[in-house]
Symmetry: C2
Subunit: 104 residues, 2 copies
DNA sequence: AAAACGTGCAACCGATTGGTTGCAAATATA
DNA sequence: TATATTTGCAACCAATCGGTTGCACGTTTT
């Protein structure tokens, strides 16, 4: 099983789930209500997210609250790093600013 | 066919190709030499990358030079934006710095 | 104690993926 | 002109994906 973070975010439903639980922890049932797929399908997505350590599970009685392990997202950012120097955007702008400040 | 940028970077071979042609344009043959898969398999990857406009094609005689359309990578960065405020790293540090500067 | 609820897992299914081989077309070279 | 090179495309294949339904198990509620 490949199951790395890039494969995890490849599916649009999974990205939507990620965005949902980034705000606050949610149970599988609550998540499933937001989509047109079965609770079990959501469960499978959560399993994949769990396998690449993108989510926390917090057991609370018979409910399980899933929350995004937001630090894991940095991994994507890290990969992007190698290309970032080649596009001009707010980060470049900030980099330039810092460089300028250092120079002074 | 889904074929968005997230699906494009889901495959590790494709990520390697992206990293390769980010440096300088390459022909399919030259790219294929770097991997243990057939030239046709590389060609299929390039087709996918082309379909989501991640690469440029420059025809030169019978050769075709493929280069990364680096600006398209910003799309990933843009998606990451919504999570970035929640992790502490150099970008947060820069954000805080900017906020501080604005405040003064 | 019985019933209802929240969850994960297994089995199944059609579509997609990433690879292969073979071939045709265009360009370059002998 | 004949031959070699570079490429894309089609057909095929096994494996994986994203969904489904059914079920078992633990926790709550009645």
């Amino acid at each position: 099983m490949r199951r790395d973070i890039f494969q995890a975010i490849a599916d649009p439903t999974r990205r939507a789930i990620i965005a949902l639980i980034a705000i606050h922890a949610m149970t599988p049932n609550a998540i499933a209500e937001q989509f047109d797929i079965s609770r079990q399908a959501v469960s499978k997505h959560l399993r994949i997210l769990t396998e690449c350590e993108l989510v926390n599970q917090e057991y609370q009685g018979r409910e399980i609250y899933y929350q995004l392990e937001i630090k894991k997202m940095k991994q994507i950012d890290k990969w992007l790093e190698q290309f970032r120097k080649n596009w001009e955007d707010r980060f470049d702008a900030l980099d330039n600013l810092l460089t300028t400040m250092k120079g002074k």
